[in-house]
Subunit: 334 residues, 2 copies
Amino acid sequence: MRFVLALFLVVCAAVPSFGDPAGDVPPVAIAIHGGAGTMTRADLSPEKEREIRATLERALLAGHTRLEAGASATDAVEAAIMVLENSPLFNAGYGAVFNSEGGHELDAAIMDGRTRNAGTVAGVRHIRNPILLARRVMTDSPHVMLTGEGAEEFAVSLGFDLVDEDYFSTDFRRQQLEQVQRQQSSVNDLPPPQFRYGTVGAVALDRDGNIAAGTSTGGMTNKRFGRIGDVPIIGAGTYADNATCAVSATGHGEYFIRSVVAHDIAALMRYTDASLQAAVDEVVHEKLVEFGGRGGVIGIDGDGNIAMEHNTPGMYRGAIDTSGNLTTGVFKDD
Amino acid sequence: MRFVLALFLVVCAAVPSFGDPAGDVPPVAIAIHGGAGTMTRADLSPEKEREIRATLERALLAGHTRLEAGASATDAVEAAIMVLENSPLFNAGYGAVFNSEGGHELDAAIMDGRTRNAGTVAGVRHIRNPILLARRVMTDSPHVMLTGEGAEEFAVSLGFDLVDEDYFSTDFRRQQLEQVQRQQSSVNDLPPPQFRYGTVGAVALDRDGNIAAGTSTGGMTNKRFGRIGDVPIIGAGTYADNATCAVSATGHGEYFIRSVVAHDIAALMRYTDASLQAAVDEVVHEKLVEFGGRGGVIGIDGDGNIAMEHNTPGMYRGAIDTSGNLTTGVFKDD
């Protein structure tokens, strides 16, 4: 009898207290992006595509494993983004693009949909994983946004190691800078379209029903020193609110700022009862297109519905949905 | 006959082509704020109050005179804000508060509701009138947001004079810094409420029916080096779209960022057909209050309706409405 009771207790403990009446565990889900852009099948080799999809899978699994273990959506977003920041394939962390001075300035943001707490950093040059610092701005400071040396001073006070700015440099990105500088007559011009984007991001739903969003980037190739894009602007490139959705954007940042893209998707859901997919479609394929804003977004809602839309030829993206299905995509027709 | 025809042409030229059928000139209007705060009648001397109201009037007239002469809403916003930046009475430009290092970091933003073009600067230290530089970021760069030294390098390239950081310093603000530093145990704490706010802003409607918004600030007293508040965040402290409204906010910036205050007001108007006043009331007196965000906003719509609301004891504010009536206010019951 004692054994049966013990077994009963073990079984009960294994059934999460927040389960539905059928005893199922609540769903988790995650979506990520590695940037929207003008890539076509013609200029992406099969090897490179395989490498990119494999990294997207690793990032998805890093986040999903944590969600399945009961971690928060914020933890999952952070874990997935770290994988992408640490890969040279994406414009964030290691492998970030160069600014006009041949340096790197990194931006990142994270937002917790449960509390609408947020943390962002902009223009940091010596932080290996800017998403980790954004998280600490959210949790360990009374501020939302810290920039440049002030943000790095805060990082040091928390025990972060500063890395040499060269840590972020790769030959591939240096060649891109040289190519842009040959084509661009002045830093006051924009680089060619394919060099305007490049961002990584993640959105997730955890077992407690909370959602979160995060984004990280090296910005625009050959950007003017001090330029900030949409990534660390809450409401533009990053936004999360349990009442509506969590969104991470990638695209021509200036248009995304002026359109307040992420918050507009949330507002459409809140005020017009649009579904996540309908709101994302309207903003990405109608409003942004009319306005001239190129790029894409990923979003998730409290039921784990995922939307991934872009008005560019491609967007590196992937998801593990509430049924556990893992998919990755690069081109429009993927 | 030739004389009569000439007279006829002169009269026609004097009647704006965009007039209504009755031949009236279209209305213009402007509203400004000089920051929300905890000021009460007890701690504001009658002399100081007179001085403040007189400066608000000067700022209103600087903008309104231009509007009556046919200048754009953006021009009027810029002119009004310059008066407030140049006054030591408000936390923007000359008389800006000190950061934790005893320096000044100034933020400003401007947005044109016709094009939804926007320009913002953050963390500048040597720009006499940050609103002028924000305007030039909008008109003369492909970017929306420039920060710190990068923004100042851009200013120099345009021929701006850099001023010594001491230009902004006043004894009154230095005493405030000392008072806050005595009360605040760490830069990771927030200053007492009365030192968290302080901003100037303007919104205007011009004869062409275009609206614009602008905001400028020295930020939070004793703020951590590198902190950015809501002012230069498009959608949070500043937003303008002819389709809805132009908004400039003042308050505890972190809450205004997380609530995407200015864009939320516009979204309520756009998606729920709320009037400007209803949308401002809902955001300032309901949503922000529930969320814990203290401050206020001013807004204007395409008909020249003006809303000025705050959930703090006071907000320095003023308006010249479409009938030409000039009013200023400081306390709730003004």
